[in-house]
């Protein structure tokens, strides 16, 4: 059970390195089943969001992470295991082999998820958010009871940019916003655009 020892240590380490100031805007921390979806600029993103949650919420929240990065080497594998991360193979994503089914199977009726619908890390310097992949749409369609909580992360791309392996300890910002759901009769593209807007809106609060 190295999970219990490493997890609080990791949370503390993430706070020291990324110094996130956490805000909840029209949303409160809750252990109910949620999908936190965020903009993605750094490999530290899942750890920092996870560390920004209160401990009891942290316990039931699993980040989704890229298998090709997080299963390389003993250290990253250990980290991923400590975070109880769900590793998704990005190369094998196909229409008939959707990771959404895997996610739904793994979360059961207990766990929440941290996902990055951009699919890959956005352009670091511009700070823009890419178009969202359709995963969260199908996720919410199959499990309409899940609350989709938008999360905006600021400055992470400067703490650990693309292609770097040593983090620089700057301060960051994590904003949790009001949950959204798939509306009746809403098309996939409308929903994904709305989800992306809900993250972008948090940038200026």
């Amino acid at each position: 059970m190295d999970l219990n020892l490493t997890a609080p240590f990791l949370a503390a380490l993430a706070k020291v390195f990324a110094g996130p100031s956490v805000r909840w805007v029209d949303c409160q921390p809750d252990t109910c089943q949620r999908v936190y979806f965020a903009n993605h600029t750094s490999h530290l993103d899942p750890i920092v969001i996870w560390a920004s949650l209160p401990p009891d919420v942290r316990k039931v929240t699993r980040p989704i992470a890229a298998k090709d990065y997080w299963s390389r080497g003993w250290f990253r594998r250990h980290l991923a295991r400590s975070l109880n991360a769900m590793l998704i193979d990005r190369d094998k994503i196909k229409v008939h082999q959707s990771p959404v089914d895997l996610m739904i199977r793994e979360i059961g009726d207990q766990y929440s998820l941290i996902v990055f619908p951009e699919g890959t890390r956005g352009h670091s310097d511009s700070g823009q958010i890419r178009e969202f992949k359709s995963g969260i749409y199908y996720l919410n369609k199959k499990r309409p009871d899940l609350e989709l909580v938008p999360v905006y992360m600021d400055n992470m791309n400067r703490i650990l940019p693309r292609g770097e392996y040593l983090p620089v300890p700057m301060l960051s910002r994590v904003v949790f916003g009001p949950p959204i759901w798939l509306e009746q009769g809403e098309t996939k593209n409308d929903f994904l655009a709305r989800a992306r807007q809900s993250v972008l809106r948090l940038r200026d609060v």
């Binding site: 100031s21 670091s124 400067r158 940019p161 770097e164 040593l166 620089v168 300890p169 700057m170 301060l171």
Partner: protein
């Protein structure tokens, strides 16, 4: 006061502490007394139902007094530990945090990433290690950052291969390193001064305490005098609350208080020397506040802590100390010790 001094002497003797000696104890006693009065005043002002004083100002005052309590407590605790190392580590952590606030609010580019890693994890600790090794290493710690650090930063950014706004980026990192790390490290370095010309003076803890006290007081007095009699704002677009009248009156009052504090014997200065040193600290402190305000205006933020919690950050509290520390250290070392040779 004699009772307080006796108590502190007793505490000091009982733990064979050499940092917190009698005179420093008296100075600490005076400060704690003043803080008690300030706390009481804040509470009385707060309880006033229809006070003529703006409640926001009262709240700001109470926050400020709380920050001073914290500063005093931290310094008192580090003085109780019978080695200056604790104080050096404390200031090292403050530097680290201030540097991180500075760099967070200063746009850097991807090409600066590895340079910043060096700045945070090599240059900053190295500076404080050298300070902690004592005044024998003055020659090295006083040039480490301005010579080796600055040359390294510019070359390292050049090697990274991104020429866009090159000079600007180099300057930003150098200024941050200079103010947050190099300048601040002179404050704990005061503890290592020795070979006093005034042979009655044996300790340096009182010197650091005196320095921080005067820096904070001059900051406050310049602000208060500016509110009371200020007419001509020095630079309205930089800092709207700093006036020439406030600057001169505040510096004058600081000098008088500084002269009075020399009676505690916590510093190697006689009263007129103490007054002059207080003026130096007050002038440099004002320069620091104005400079850091200019940087803040340029970045469009009110406080360095904006990204943190929406109130003032570490850098907002230490801007005066950062500018005054190297000058205060140098003058003290040059004129009051035989170290300068």
């Amino acid at each position: 006061m004699t009772l307080l001094s006796q108590i502190f002497t007793l505490i000091a003797q009982s733990q064979s502490v050499h940092l917190l000696d009698g005179p420093t104890g008296v100075l600490l006693g005076v400060v704690i007394g003043c803080l008690l009065i300030a706390t009481a005043a804040g509470q009385i002002l707060k309880r006033q139902p229809d006070s003529s004083v703006n409640p926001a100002i009262v709240q700001a005052f109470i926050h400020r007094v709380r920050a001073w309590w914290l500063m005093t407590a931290i310094l008192a605790v580090t003085f109780l530990i019978p080695t200056p190392i604790a104080t050096v580590i404390l200031f090292g952590l403050i530097s680290f945090w201030a540097m991180r606030e500075f760099i967070t609010l200063t746009p850097t580019r991807l090409g600066d990433h590895r340079t910043l890693f060096w700045v945070f994890f090599v240059l900053t600790p190295a500076q404080y290690v050298l300070v902690g090794l004592g005044s024998a290493h003055y020659e090295l710690f006083s040039i480490l950052i301005p010579v080796y650090g600055f040359l390294f930063v510019s070359a390292r950014i050049a090697i990274a291969g991104d020429y866009k706004r090159f000079l600007e980026r180099v300057a930003k990192i150098q200024v941050g390193l200079y103010i947050c790390v190099y300048a601040l490290s002179y404050a704990p370095a005061l503890l290592y001064l020795e070979q006093w010309k005034n042979t009655d003076y044996t300790t340096s803890a009182g010197l650091l305490f005196f320095f921080i006290l005067i820096a904070q007081l001059s900051d406050l007095l310049q602000f208060v005098c500016g509110k009371l009699i200020g007419r001509n704002v020095i630079a309205p677009s930089i800092n709207a609350s700093r006036t020439w009248e406030g600057f001169f009156a505040g510096t004058g009052v600081t000098a008088i208080i500084g002269a009075a504090l020399s009676l505690t014997g916590a510093t190697p200065f006689n009263s007129w020397q103490s007054a002059l040193m207080s003026i130096v600290i007050a002038v440099m402190g004002a320069a620091g506040t104005m400079t850091m305000s200019a940087i803040k205006r340029d970045r469009g933020v009110r406080d360095y802590g904006t990204l943190v919690e929406g109130h003032a950050g570490v850098l907002d509290r230490i801007d005066a100390i950062c500018f005054a520390a190297p000058v205060f250290y140098h003058i003290t070392r040059y004129y009051f010790t035989t170290l300068a040779g």
